[in-house]
Structures are given as structure tokens and as C-alpha cells.
Subunit: 764 residues, 2 copies
């Protein structure tokens, strides 16, 4: 009954118990039994086969969804519809350490409004960076509607790098949309407001409240927006909505729709009809057409003035320069979608039953001919509907957003009130198919459906209500994204996917193999600033530096210890912890949490992060690793000791909880020798096979070799103490030697199993 370390480790060889390591037995139940028991039809089974993704298999597309009011971006795979990641963007998120480490706090601080930290965002429309109108897989942009901001996410590590605040708007629904080579990111205002700070009465709405459209300049080389080189079109107070950039023949132009061009101001509490009545009275609103190429030239030529620190193109200037026009569009629209070849623009209004197809050729001609049906009250020329429209197609009640198929002329429009998707041909002007969804679809997304060459294949319907689709989870329901197969003539519903956090508005989907994210950072990396951290620390160089009341701790984390394990400061000190993750192994993230101080870090391999706080109260503050990283993860711990000011330590040394003798040391050494034999046998197995043909195994072997290196150091220390007769420290270091051996064995076993399961061959 006695515990025996050797016995404990004997299993390392995998030969014990006479059982195969993996169960290869087949289930007893037949497919038919399962289908019957679960009430599945043949159609369900086909849908299951089209979506089920076995362990280790990859999804073909990655969808990047706005997280709505969660302030995050949601990444999921298609067709498996499994959510892979929530990326913190406008809202602090502790799992990622986002808004907890100093580096990401600095990103969030860029998004302050009137000097105030904004603690959430209402994310709406994500957009990929593009090259020649094709998604290039490098960056993702997303807006915050509530607090007009745009964020930049770097897709090489899926982290938010920058937040910019619009200097004019007080809301911004209409972002982000990019120009074909990511020269600019478009972002339109929503609710008209004065461009200046300060109070302006609503009675002056027509005169002093304004809408607008900002073209944020993007610097592709450094991956950051440049507010100082961005410009904004002043626009009438028409509630500008979504945008799209022209491409091909329409490249250089932008299209932005709007609602409430009635400029109605509600006031139920004053006995007036509500906004919803006054903002939907006219049959049409206005599509806004802007020429960003020419605007950029004006800026470059020094012809545009800066207001609030950013270039502002007034309506007067825009009209004078001929770079801003209006075209009637169906009322209360949502979505203005340029065709892949840039020749057409589709808009539909949520209170109409038609999708309207505009011809860029006709629009261009009207502009060239200066053929306008008049001007709006702000002097902006209006192109007549007949001079811009190609056709109107009856698609269903409440059409909203259109996505393009890989097949020429074929599009999909979400139909809000009728709760369906209509597939139609915008060249022929005819409906091809309709599919009911549950319930009340908002936006939809086809694969690369916003790009110059859409992929078709799948469509996701972003439903605004779930109602009865899922197990009930209280009054607040998840959203429901429904996956639809569009590879055939008829659409086929494949999958209902609940969204567990946030109300997504818009999704973009990219071919997964366009993304090449890294799995580790360069050693000592400040990921938010994209450079080596000034606080990076190498193994063995950990130190604590005091300067006045400031204490800087340069520490490291690695399986399974934090260095330093004891940090001593004084009450009132400002403490800055800087931790570098020394791991090179994939997925070996360490966390760092400390009692009562809001210190909570996520430290991925190679990363250096900092946490600065004031040690306000004397006390004992345990800290530990929060990511289960190894067998002794729970023992990856330490203490911050905050001493009262002027505290004098008493003389005397504490006795250790447990004392060790030469017998303990010898026992541990014996265990280690036995363990090494096991490791050697695993190593022999690996090296006798073609392990270099398996990238996963090569990575594991590299990691295991590192761990064995550490083991050697611990062994040396242990032997040093033993030589001096200090069996306390000799035993403890021998124990540490064994810990490294266990980590090595863990890795070796994983490598061995991988080789066995993937048909590795014996080499001579």
C-alpha cells in the first residue's frame, strides 16, 4: 500500500494494464438506432455530415462577428459553427488580461472620451483589410456605435492594437468599411449632433446638428490608423447609416445610406409622435455618394482645413469640388452593397418589399453630365432616381442587407419582416429561391461576400431573435446564427448556432488559409506596441529594483514556477510587476493573479506584460498562475508582502515545515534515476522513428529538451548541497530535478502517442 514513485512512473512506458492506450472499439448503437432515438431525419443527417468537424480537423472559413454590446469580436469556424475566440476590443476582458495589464490599458485609454474611460463598446461592423478588393487576412477593423470609435485588430495574433475616437461624431453606426487597398476605413455618423463639444438646443437641429462620414487613413506598413491624415465629410443631419467602397470602375468612390432624411425630432414626452413615426414618413431617404480619391487629393494639396485636429470637408466645399452627391433610395434602408465588379450597388429599405439596384454607369454619367433633379436644403446635388436606378426587384417584406454569391449576378438578401432569405438575380431581376429562417433576420454573410471575388458555398443568417430555438436560459436569450448551404440551386438550412454573449450585428467571413497567426511571440515582446518590451527579462536575470517609492519587479514565468516567489514592498509603494513568459511551447500560456489588487495577467509564450498598482495596505497578498499549465500548476504560487512603513524585521529564522535527511535524499535520487530510465526509453522510441517528419513532435522534442536542460541544472545544485552535507536543500533540489523530469516525460509521452497514432515509421 505504500506509495512508490517508481511505480507511479512505470506507466510512462504505456505498457501497463494490458490495455491499448486508445479505445478503438466501435459503439454498439447503429446509425439507424441513433437517428430514431434522437428523432433525426435523413435531411438532418445530411446537414450533420455537412457541419460536423472531427477532432483535429479544420474549418474552411473563419467568421469574424461583431459582439454587439459585449464590446468584443467573436471568431467562429464555418461550417462547424464552433466559436473559437472572443477578442477583447472595447471592453476589458480578464481572460486575455485585456484592460488589466498596463500595455492593453494603454490601448483602451486611447478610447477615452472627455478624459473618461469608456468601459464598453457597441461593436457593429467588422471589416477585413483588403488588397485589390480581396481580403488579405492581415487586419480587422470594427466600430463602436455608442461612443464613436474604430479599433484595429492585428490578425497575426488576434489582439486589439489601436482605438481611435471620432473628433466630430456623437455616435457612429456606419463603420467599418474599407477601400479596396485599405487606404481608408469608412465610418459614418448615425444620430446627428453638433460637431462641436458643448450644448446646442434641438431647436437648432436643422442648422447646427450634422451627420458625416469619416475616411480614416490606414498605414498598412505599421498597421495603425492615422487620425492626423484622416478626413471627414460634413453631411446633412440625415442619420447616415452603412457604407461600402466602390471598386473596379467605381473605385475612388464611397456609398453611404441614411434614414430619417425627414430630419424629424421626436419628443413623446412633449406630446409629439415618436421618432419612429417621423423618421419613416417619406417614401425615400438618400444614398450619399462621395469621392474619396479626389478628397484625398484636396487634403494633399493643403486645401482642406483642420477642425478638432482633423481634416473636415464642409458641405460647401464638397459641393463646390463636386465630390458629394445624393440619390433617393428606399426609406429606412440598412446596407448598401457594391457588386464584386463594382458596377452596381444594391440598397433595400426595411419598410419596403423591393431591393433597388443602382447602376454605377448611370450614376457616373449623371455626375459627368451634371444632371441633377435639384438640391437638398443643404445645397447637395440630387441625382434623380431614374438616372441612377437599373431596376427594383420584389424580394419580400423588409429587405435589409445583400451579399454576393460566387455565381455572377446572384445575390442573397435578408428579409426582416418576412423572416427569410431571398436568393435572386440582380441582372435578370428575378427571384430564384426563398428560405425561411427563425426569426427576423438582420444582416447575413456569404463567404468573402463583401470582396471582389466572393466564394459562395455558405451563408449565415444573423437572426435577431432566438425565441424557442434553444433550451431556455432566462429572459435574456442568445442570438441565433443559422448556417445555410448555398452551393446548390436551393438553399438548405444546416445548423442553428446560439451566440452566448453579445448581440452581433454584422459578420465577415474569410478563407481560413489566408490567416497565418503566430503561436508565440518573439522573446520579451510587448504585443500591444508591437516591439520588444523595455521590461523583458531573461531566465536568471530576474531582479527587483527600487527607486524611491517605486518598485519594479522584473520577473519570469515558466512551468511550474514564478520568479520571484516572494516580493517585499512597503505600504504606499507603487509596484510595477513585469513578467516575461519564457516558454516557447505552443499553448503554454501562464496567467498571473493576485489577491485583492485587480492584478490579472495573461502571458502567452514570449510575451512581456506589466501590472502597476499601489500597495495601499500592509498585508499578505498571495499570487499564482491562473492557466492550468502542468501537473504542479497549483504550486505555481508566491506572496507579495506589503510591510508597514518603517517595519523592522525581528531576528531569527523560521523553521521549515518538513525536515529532510540523507535517507530522503537517497530515496529521491533513486526515483530520479528510475525516471531517467523511463525518459530514455521514450526518447529511444521517438528517435528510432521518423519523428522529424512530424512538426508537432519536433516542437514537443524541442520543449522536452529545454526541460531536460533545466533538470540538469537542478541536479547539479542538488549534488552540490549533498556534497556539503546539506540534505535539506539537496533533497529539495533533487525534488525539483524530478519535477523537470515529469514535465519532460509528459512531453515525451505526448510525442510518442502522436507518433503511434499518426503512423510513424521505424528508421534504421
Amino acid at each position: 500500500m505504500k506509495v512508490n514513485k517508481k511505480r507511479a512512473l512505470s506507466l510512462l512506458t504505456g505498457a501497463v494494464l494490458g490495455l491499448g492506450m486508445a479505445s478503438s472499439a466501435y459503439s454498439q448503437a447503429s446509425l439507424e438506432d441513433v437517428m430514431k432515438a434522437r428523432g433525426l431525419t435523413q435531411k438532418d443527417l445530411l446537414a450533420a455530415a455537412k457541419t460536423y468537424t472531427p477532432t483535429g480537423a479544420r474549418d474552411e472559413y473563419l467568421a469574424f462577428s461583431s459582439g454587439g454590446q459585449s464590446g468584443h469580436v467573436i471568431v467562429y469556424g464555418i461550417p462547424s459553427m464552433r466559436i473559437l475566440k472572443y477578442i477583447g476590443v472595447f471592453t476589458p476582458e480578464p481572460w486575455q488580461g485585456y484592460g488589466f495589464d498596463d500595455e492593453s490599458k494603454a490601448v483602451l485609454a486611447q478610447g477615452q472620451i472627455d478624459g473618461k474611460d469608456i468601459k464598453y463598446g457597441d461593436t457593429h461592423h467588422p471589416a477585413f483589410s483588403e488588397t485589390d478588393g480581396e481580403y488579405n487576412g492581415r487586419y480587422l477593423f470594427i466600430n463602436d456605435k455608442a461612443n464613436p470609435r474604430i479599433a484595429v485588430i492585428d490578425l497575426h495574433d488576434f489582439e486589439t492594437k489601436q482605438i481611435v475616437v471620432n473628433p466630430f461624431f456623437k455616435s457612429a453606426h456606419g463603420g467599418a468599411f474599407v477601400t479596396p487597398n485599405t487606404e481608408y476605413v469608412m465610418d459614418a455618423a448615425q444620430y446627428a449632433a453638433p460637431f462641436e463639444k458643448g450644448f446646442v438646443p434641438l431647436e437648432e437641429f436643422n442648422d447646427k446638428y450634422r451627420g458625416g462620414l469619416t475616411y480614416w487613413k490606414f498605414n498598412d506598413k505599421v498597421g495603425r490608423l492615422e487620425p492626423e491624415n484622416s478626413f471627414t465629410f460634413e453631411m446633412p443631419p440625415y442619420s447616415q447609416d452603412l457604407s461600402d467602397a466602390g471598386k473596379g470602375p467605381s473605385e475612388g468612390w464611397g456609398f453611404t445610406n441614411s434614414f430619417c432624411s425627414e430630419r424629424y425630432v421626436g419628443g413623446i414626452e412633449r406630446g409629439r409622435p415618436p421618432f419612429e413615426a417621423g423618421c419613416s414618413q417619406k417614401d425615400t431617404d438618400f444614398m450619399h455618394v462621395t469621392n474619396w480619391k479626389k478628397a484625398a487629393e484636396l487634403v494633399a494639396a493643403g486645401k482642406v482645413k483642420k477642425v478638432n485636429g482633423q481634416y473636415l470637408i464642409t458641405m460647401e466645399q464638397a459641393v463646390k469640388e463636386g465630390i458629394f452627391f445624393l440619390i433617393p433610395e428606399p426609406k429606412s434602408p440598412h446596407g448598401v452593397d457594391v457588386s464584386p465588379d463594382g458596377t452596381h450597388i444594391i440598397v433595400s429599405g426595411k419598410l419596403d418589399s423591393h431591393a433597388w439596384v443602382y447602376s454605377w454607369e448611370k450614376i457616373q454619367k449623371a455626375i459627368a453630365d451634371k444632371k441633377f433633379e435639384g438640391k437638398d436644403p443643404y445645397g447637395v446635388p440630387i441625382i434623380a432616381m431614374k438616372d441612377a436606378l437599373r431596376t427594383q426587384v420584389q424580394v419580400g417584406l423588409g429587405p435589409l442587407h445583400t451579399q454576393y454569391d460566387s455565381k455572377e449576378c446572384v445575390v442573397y438578401t435578408s428579409i426582416y419582416v418576412d423572416s427569410m432569405v431571398t436568393k435572386w438575380d440582380y441582372c435578370e431581376g428575378k427571384v430564384l429561391d426563398q428560405l425561411h429562417i427563425h426569426y427576423n433576420i438582420g444582416h447575413l454573410v456569404a463567404m468573402e461576400g463583401d470582396s471582389a471575388s466572393p466564394d459562395g458555398k455558405y451563408l449565415v443568417s444573423l437572426n435577431k431573435l432566438a425565441i424557442d430555438r434553444f433550451n431556455p436560459v432566462g429572459p435574456l436569450h442568445p442570438q441565433n446564427h443559422q448556417l445555410i448551404d448555398i452551393s446548390g440551386d436551393k438553399m438548405q438550412l444546416l445548423y442553428d448556432m446560439p451566440l452566448p454573449l453579445g448581440e452581433p450585428h454584422y459578420v465577415v467571413a474569410i478563407k481560413a488559409d489566408k490567416l497565418k497567426p503566430v503561436v508565440r511571440y518573439k522573446s520579451g515582446w510587448n504585443s500591444r506596441a508591437d516591439k520588444r518590451s523595455e521590461f523583458r527579462t531573461r531566465a536568471g536575470r530576474e531582479k527587483t529594483v527600487r527607486e524611491g517609492n517605486r518598485v519594479d519587479v522584473y520577473g519570469t514565468v515558466i512551468r511550474s514556477h514564478i520568479t520571484p516567489e516572494i516580493i517585499e514592498v512597503e505600504e504606499g509603494d507603487t509596484v510595477s510587476l513585469h513578467f516575461t513568459n519564457l516558454e516557447r511551447a505552443q499553448d503554454e500560456t501562464h496567467g498571473f493573479a493576485m489577491y485583492g489588487q485587480n492584478v490579472n495577467l495573461s502571458i502567452e509564450p514570449g510575451k512581456t506584460v506589466s501590472a502597476t498598482f499601489k500597495a495601499e495596505k500592509a498585508g499578505v497578498y498571495p499570487y499564482y498562475c491562473t492557466e492550468f499549465c502542468s501537473a504542479l500548476h497549483l504550486e505555481m504560487q508566491g506572496y507579495l508582502l506589503v510591510k508597514p512603513k518603517g517595519y523592522k524585521a525581528k531576528a531569527g529564522k523560521a523553521s521549515e515545515g518538513t525536515k529532510y535527511t540523507k535517507a530522503d535524499f537517497d530515496k529521491q535520487v533513486k526515483t530520479n534515476v528510475d525516471t531517467q530510465a523511463v525518459i530514455d526509453s521514450v526518447v529511444a522510441f521517438i528517435t528510432s522513428h521518423n519523428y522529424k517528419d512530424f512538426k508537432t513532435v519536433v516542437d514537443l522534442v524541442t520543449d522536452a529538451t529545454d526541460q531536460l536542460g533545466f533538470a540538469a541544472e537542478a541536479k547539479k545544485k542538488s549534488e552540490g548541497f549533498a556534497a556539503k552535507g546539506d540534505y535539506q536543500n539537496a533533497t529539495l533540489w533533487a525534488g525539483q530535478h524530478w519535477q523537470y523530469q515529469v514535465k519532460t516525460a509528459d512531453l515525451g509521452l505526448r510525442a510518442k502517442t502522436h507518433l503511434e497514432e499518426n503512423g510513424a515509421k521505424k528508421v534504421k
Copy 2:
């Protein structure tokens, strides 16, 4: 080409275009084609059939997972493995308005430490409330390891209602675990620390640092923990870990394991071996056995003193009263699991290869006979291993946590280092099956596997690493929960599920039909305090009340307007917004966000929430509904106007953006008459069928009837203005009438489709 409202609405009848409303066509691709194209095996197809859940179908079990450092709880369905909800617990979460409305801020404020808001939690172990050892589906408890706290989630609405802070501990890994009738919630300390606030040097670790176990008293009637009636066992500084409560013969007792009973204090930076070495040196740690029934009697008898405001049972008292014992257990264990019948306890150590099965009968006898092998340094009696243990079974290297099957004596143990699940028989002491997982499993969960009558069927392996299982998403990987079919003799891997946010530690799974969550609140409900809100507001009773510098706005939200639409305050005012959602319809949540003020609310049907902020700067602050609730959701907007102090309005009234004439009014009225005809035809369809047999339809009809009621009011107003010759207001109110009609039609159409798709019958 002219827009025609009648034409727009003609689709309401669903008869246009000659197309069926739903596509019933079958996909072109055969099952075999799909399997070949996607590389699926027959085994994959079977797994797909066992997990795929078609639209509208329900999951059999709901899993409640800790969200790790995200501070949330994650709810997902089994076997579909779809995540249904993230519940905000210790971390503010804007989608739910959690930490943004005053009501939930008050819940989070309960969790302050030293007067400081704690902005995250490291959630570890969820536990359901129980009746007679069975999950009763009423409450869920979860701990925060980093900042020792316990939260209470009410499963009638899936909201966090209470947070309590441990008055003694500085960390608490070992919660939450409940006694068989939820009398108490167990929560053990992890990293030993002084029970008092203030600094105590590590040199006094043995004498002044302490571990402990708190039994939080739960009041089942009000659904809240009672700190004043809770008690804590003082324990040696042994890093107490997880617990489980006895049941059946062992009811009244609790079991808590531990690690680092060496009481080792590291200090790498001082040249000492790290914690991981010193904390894993001994072959055994201690299982702690406590008698909570007797402890509760001592408390009731007034024999226990209060410290830090809570009852503290000192080690001296516990030993004297015979309610605290130690038993050797395998070193560095994680998980102490009482068998469903309460007769056995299984513990395993992560550096061992055995699971140890303890007999409660033997333990009880040793206690009764006062048969101890000695005392620990703190005087706590130690029961000898041989007097407690039934057997040790070799299950694999790094056994961690055990769950019970529905079959007698059958258990599943997670094997960390070997990355597998071992199925074994603890009565016979033999291994039955082993299944590899990817990679490095931590905890596992079987269906109701912690209860007095486990269900078996499915097992979920909570893997700590994902590595190469999913599409790469940067250095920070998702977690991987693998679903395993345990209904047969051999375990079968069914599904890999990425966890996109947070690192879950522990999961509990309950039969879904035990949960009866509501879909709406009683009207005007403060959900966090579980009572009618003092700020509830009924339709038509909206008002703004000023008292000194405080402005209280009593408002409402409903499709598609916010009342009031204009709020005027002065710079420096403290503004309290109180909104009640007037909706009764399921899933008709409205959001409320305001520019630059961190005001962001989620208002589910019936709920009243408040947001209090200081209007610091004069300006214009748009606000709007953030949940896409209806076709005119974007028009659900308003303005907060913050006027400079002493601002005097100028004379004069603004002109409206658009003017309406009698012709506009007549046109709108005609549209409304036509629309009403469409509604009538839909109503005729519904009432001519057995719609009352369909709960969904009855709900929709109730909602539609409400909307029609509002329509009648708007119509009356419209006609009143027309009678006075005020065609501006007459037209606008007629437009509002139409808006209500559109909402009615939306609901009617949904009801009609539901009847058609679900085989409703015509009634005579």
C-alpha cells in the same frame, strides 16, 4: 418605379411570387459525396448523428461551466455542445448590463475587498443546489479563487444575485460544494495566509499563516447566503483544495483534500528551490474530515466565537469537540469525490498513478474508536491510511478527478499526464476502459455525476490545452472540451468543443428539464433584489422629477420608442435614468446606450433598471436601443441635452425638417386602411385554425393584440389632429398608426407561418 406602401405590404399575405414560403427542396449532394468531400469516416458520421441537434430541438443536459479568469459562468447544451449563455458573475459584462445598471452594480459592490471594486474573478467550481443529494435546478454557486468570494446565481432567470467575501481567506480555490440539502456551501482556502488583515512575515508561516474551510449558510427560502450564520474551520497551513459533502451514511460530514502539507515556503529569488519542489516532496498530503452537523450545533448552542464578524471554529476547539480529523492521501491531489451512496470517497494525486478508494465505514469506525496514528503539529488527530483505505487502483499517470456513472461502482477518472480518461470499477478495483484525449485533461464531468443518482450517458473531458485541435487564432488558444459517449462498454469520443473565452476549471451538468427559467419578469421588476422596483413605470406614467441637483427620469421602452425621447438636465446634475421594459413578448429585450457616459443597459421584458451618472459636461448625448427589436429599431432613439448652468433658452421655435399636407395625410390613411385589410386577412387565417393549441401562436396573438391596441390610440390622435386641420401632426400620428400595424403584421405573419409549418387544422 414609385414606392407604394400597399405594394410593399402586399407580401404580407405570403402569396406573391408564386414561391412557397419555405424552400423544401433537397440538397443535390448525396450523403456519400459529402462524407468523401469532407473526409468523414463512418465513425465520424455516427458521432455527428449523436451530437447534431436540428433547429428547434433541445439538448438533454445543460452544462454549467466555470469561466475561469473571465469571471463568468458558461452554459452549454449536451450533446450539441453549443454555448447558450455566458452569465456575468464577478466581471462586469455590458451585453447583460451587468455592472452597468445600478441594480447589478450593487451586487458587484458586495464583492469589494478593502473597499476596492474587484473587476474580475477567477471562477473555479460551480455547484447546483440540492435536495436529498439531487440537483434541484434552483440555484448555482461558484467561487472566485483569486479574491476569496462565492456568488449565487438564480436559475429561474440565470442572473447573479449575491456575492459574499470570505472574512478570513486571501484565496479560495476549494469552492463551491454543497451539502445534500443545500444547508451549507463549502469553500476552502488555498494559499495559507494570516486570518487577520495586515502584514505577518513569512518567517511566521507555521505559527500565523492558516488554511481553512468555510461552511456558508444558505437560506433556501430567499435564495441568499447568510454570512452571519456561516462558520469557518481554522485549519493548518496545508493548501486546502477541493471538497465534497458526505451523503447517506456520511451525511453531516465534509471531505477536503490538500497539497503542500510540507508547509514549504519557496523563494527562488533567494536561491531556494521553488514551491513546486518543496510542495511535492512528501509521498502523502492530508484529507481533512469535518463534521459540519456537529459544528452547526455548537454554533446554535452559542459555543463558537465570532471573529471578523463570522463564527470561527479554532483548531483547538475542533479537536476538542472531535469534529476535525486528518487522513493521509496521495500527494498533490485534486478532487475528493464521494460516491453517490455516500459509502466511499475517491482521491487521487497528480504525481501518482493510483486512485485511492476510502471507506467511510472504516473512517467512521476509526473515529468512533478514537484510533489514531498520531497528531499533526497542530494537534489534529491523524487516522492511519490502513484504517481508512479500501483499495488503491492503478489508473494511469497523473489521476486527477473522478466522476460517477449511473452503473454501480463504475467511475471515470481524468488522467492528466497520460492525457486520458480511465473507466474503472472501484468495488472490484479494476480498470474497464481507457480513452485518449487531446491534450492533458483537468477535470471531467459526467451527467449529474456529483449527485446521489448520476445519469451516466455522456462525459465531458475538460482539456487544459488545445494546441492543434482547431484553426489557429493566435498565441492564446481556446480550451477544448471533448464530449465522450459513455453509454456503452467502451467510451467513444464524439465532439471537440472550443471554449472561446475563459479557462474553465470545473463543470456540472443537469438534466435540462429540471430547469424552469422564466422568459419575462413581473412588470416593473428589480431582478437583482427580486422585488418590484421602486422605480417601475407604467405606460403613460413616464415623468421626470427634479430635486435640487438630482434628476430622476422614470421612463419606458417598447417597440420602437424610448419614452422620454428628450431629456434635459443641467451641467453638474446627478441624473438617474429608470427604464421599464413594457413588453410581455418573449425575447423582446431592449437595450439602452448613451454616448460617452458608460450608460449601457439590458432591459428584458418586465424589468426595471436604473443608471445613475453625473452630467459633468454641457453637451448633446444621443441615446438609442442596442437590441435589434423591430424593423424601426434604429429609430428607437433620443437625446440627453446637458445645458450649461443658468442657460436661458432663446425665443422661437424650430421649423420641422419636413412639412406634411392634407394630401400626405390622405395617402397615409389609405395605406393604413389597406394594411388593416391585410392584417384582417391574417387574423382570419389564424382564427380559422386551431391556433389555441399552439402556445407560441397564443403568445404571438397576445402580443399582436397589444400592438393593435396601441395602433388604435395613435389612430385616434391622428384623427383628432386632422379634425383640427393640423395635418402635420395628423400625418405623423397616422404614420405612427402604421408603425404599430407593421409590428402587428410582423407578429401575425410569424404566427401564420408557425401554424402552416406545424400542421394546424382548420376549425369549423
